[in-house]
Amino acid sequence: MVPPVHFTERVTMTDSTDAGPVLAADGTPLKKKLAQALFVSRARAFGLVLPLLAFILVSFIIPILSLMVQGVKNDTYSANMPASTEIMKGWDGISEPTEKMFAALVLDLIKAREEKSIGRVATRVNREVSGTRSMFTKAARKAGKLEAPFMAAMLNIDEDWGNIEVWGAMKVSSQTYSAAFYAAAVDADYNADGSFERLDEKDRIYVYLFIKTLLVSLAVTLACLALGYPVAWLLASLPMRTSNLLMILVLLPFWTSLLVRTTAWIAMLQSHGVLNNVFVWLGITTDETRFSLIYNMTGTIIAMTHILLPFMILPLYSVMKGISPAYLRAAKSLGATNWTAFWRVYFPATIPGIGAGGLLVFILAIGYYITPALVGGQDGQLISNFIAYHMQKSLNWSLAAALGGILLVIVLAIYWLYDKVVGIDNMKMG
């Protein structure tokens, strides 16, 4: 005997397969009803994150994208010198410039002078071959009165116009999209024929700066680790009340302005500052041979270590807090000395914290700007200071963008490497 309940069940089941889709109570198909309900809840959730999303888009994604574009795009020349830009496309960059090219150049020069854009164009070309700026301004002043044949006329103004290098620089400048700035950012020359060439030893700056920035970041990270590890351990193992007090001391820097902290270091480290006075007083050094602790690399490393220290301590602390004291006890009961127990059992358990703290400090250090600018002096400047220089002083935004782009790639590469070696899911922030 089949109980009646089964019967009704069977009936509804046949209903749903034979007589079309299952209907909700009000007659609309169930699937549609469900999709509607889900859509409303999704839309509400989306509405909640929308302000943040918009903010990130405007303040983060768009600037980064435009930065990436800036690094390869520069239309200063092509927008203002259309005729020569056009004719330059057909030129191979090696053969002698022709009369036609000179004619186009003169046409452009006249136009640029009228539109008052000649200064910018000249600056652009000058970045490729220095010393060409005055050639352009001078030629533009006289261009209106020149008569054909233009080649001879131009050479008459300045015989450097016959120099193939100048024309190569113009060809490179005329490319709206070019690798010239990225090449410059890694100390290379981008030639008119599309080839790259490393700069002379004495002219190289940026590769060395990148390496220096990485090394300084590494040094700061290691210093933070060496100083932060014991502190984090203390924080995690002391009784609650004492550790809370200590935690406030660790967090204190966060409540003080970065600028104030950096200037405090100036007062501390300068040659007649607190530290040097103490050294002299202690007889470690004499009044004449005071240590130069600031306005150099030493100052940069000391101040950056101090400022970034909490970023190391906090992730370490949160990881250490989660390590049960039973592990250390177990290790000791198994015969391990204090050191072995620490090294074989406790330390491996803190690696996620070291990874998180190290990555955080390293990546923050790579892009650090204000501290090196204030206490770094001549040789304590890092890559970000040069990016700022090109943004604010030399106004070579494309180079700044290229340098920034390379920095971004380095950070992503480090992140990727970290993920490969340690694994990003192993990271614990707190």
């Binding site: 039973a326 006890r329 009961s333 198994l334």
Partner: protein, 362 residues
């Protein structure tokens, strides 16, 4: 305690006191001697100082006063890693970043034992706990019971003569717990190790131990074999703590040899074995086990009882009655053929033998 017996004992606590904060004594004057090969369990309610004692023995806590001796030598100043005591922790404390095999070879590595010997020992101990196939697993990939076995194996792999276990089965379900009890007991006998075991589960203590130390309030209330503990409790705490107990309070009227005559508060007069009671005129607590009470009028102590509640438990029937003014008097009626059928509200007679009724401290 004679100096001689302290020297002879494998483990000895000699007037040990412990205070964490300088105000409260968590362990008060602990004296305990454990012979080689013995399985001694510390049993007691939460906070009674069991873990503290174990930690002092292992070397993670320092005794505030008194000596702890291992093989006749005071070990108060020996650091934990030199004591050579195996330990199983409540949450196993297996090192999560090492495989099972690495966990097991850790104590051998720190003892500078060669690789081949290490592998051999690890293999043997894994086989011993029937976990031979698990050497390459991480602790997180094991079930609770398997982790427990590995923790046990790790405490045994370096041939420790003394193994301490702090509620090692606390996290396991009942069935697994019972199986592990049996296995631990088996390993204890097979290896001849000395075990100090901590639990608050009395059936675990009774089934596994050679002797049980019942702790309360930092004092050992009774140290005895399991059957003595159950059948011959020496004070009211032990009688109440171990197994089920009927207590009847009253005043001692007279003493006759080993027995005392007690006037119970409910009016009845009972005869009991004088175990730990005061003199005539003092208050005492009589203890009778529920299974030693008979539903007959004869016997040396017999009184009226009113049936309050009956609970059918299959092999026996638990019967709650009012006896001598106490309405939580329990009688276990075996479900034997032809046993007496009681009804709630019925008046009946209960009786017990004098030797089953112990007069203890009030």
């Amino acid at each position: 305690m004679s100096q001689k017996s302290l020297q002879d004992a494998f483990v000895a606590f000699d007037h040990v006191q412990k205070s964490y904060d300088g105000e409260i004594l968590v362990v008060k004057d602990l004296n305990l001697q454990i012979s080689k090969g013995e399985f001694v369990t510390m049993l007691g309610p939460s906070g009674s100082g069991k873990t503290t004692c174990l930690m002092m023995l292992a070397g993670f806590e320092v005794a505030t006063h008194g000596d702890i001796l291992l093989k006749g030598q005071p070990i108060n100043n020996t650091p934990p890693h030199k004591r050579g005591i195996g330990m199983v922790f409540q949450n196993y404390a297996l090192f999560p970043h090492m495989t099972v095999g690495e966990n097991l070879s850790f104590p051998l590595e720190v003892r500078k034992i060669g690789k081949s010997e290490r592998e051999e020992k690890v293999r043997l101990v894994l086989d011993m706990v029937q976990m031979g196939d698990f050497a390459y697993r991480r602790p997180a990939q094991l079930s609770g019971g398997q982790q427990q076995r590995i923790a046990l194996a790790r405490a045994l792999v370096f041939d420790a003569e003394l193994v301490l276990m702090d509620e090692p089965l606390g996290a396991l379900d009942k069935q697994l717990r019972e199986r592990m009890q049996y296995e631990i007991k088996h390993l204890h006998e097979q290896l001849g190790i000395t075990v100090v075991y901590v639990t608050h589960d009395q059936s675990e203590a009774l089934t596994m131990s050679d002797r049980v130390a019942v702790f309360d309030d930092g004092v050992i209330q009774q140290l005895a074999k399991p059957d003595d503990l159950y059948e011959r409790p020496e004070n009211a705490f032990v009688a109440q703590f171990i197994g089920e107990n009927n207590k009847l309070e009253g005043i001692i009227r007279a003493q006759e040899g080993d027995n005392v005559i007690v006037d119970l508060d409910g009016g009845m007069t009972a005869r009991a074995l004088a175990v730990n009671c005061g003199a005539v005129g003092d208050r005492t607590m009589l203890s009778v086990r529920p299974e030693r009470v008979a539903l007959t009028g004869d016997g040396s102590n017999s009184t009226d009882a009113l049936v309050q509640e009956l609970i059918y438990l299959g092999d026996h029937i638990r019967c709650r009655m009012t006896v001598s003014g106490h309405n939580d008097f329990i009688v276990k009626v075996p479900n034997a053929s032809g046993h007496k059928h009681l009804v709630v509200g019925e008046n009946t007679k209960v009786s017990w033998q004098t030797e089953d009724c112990r007069a203890l401290d009030a």
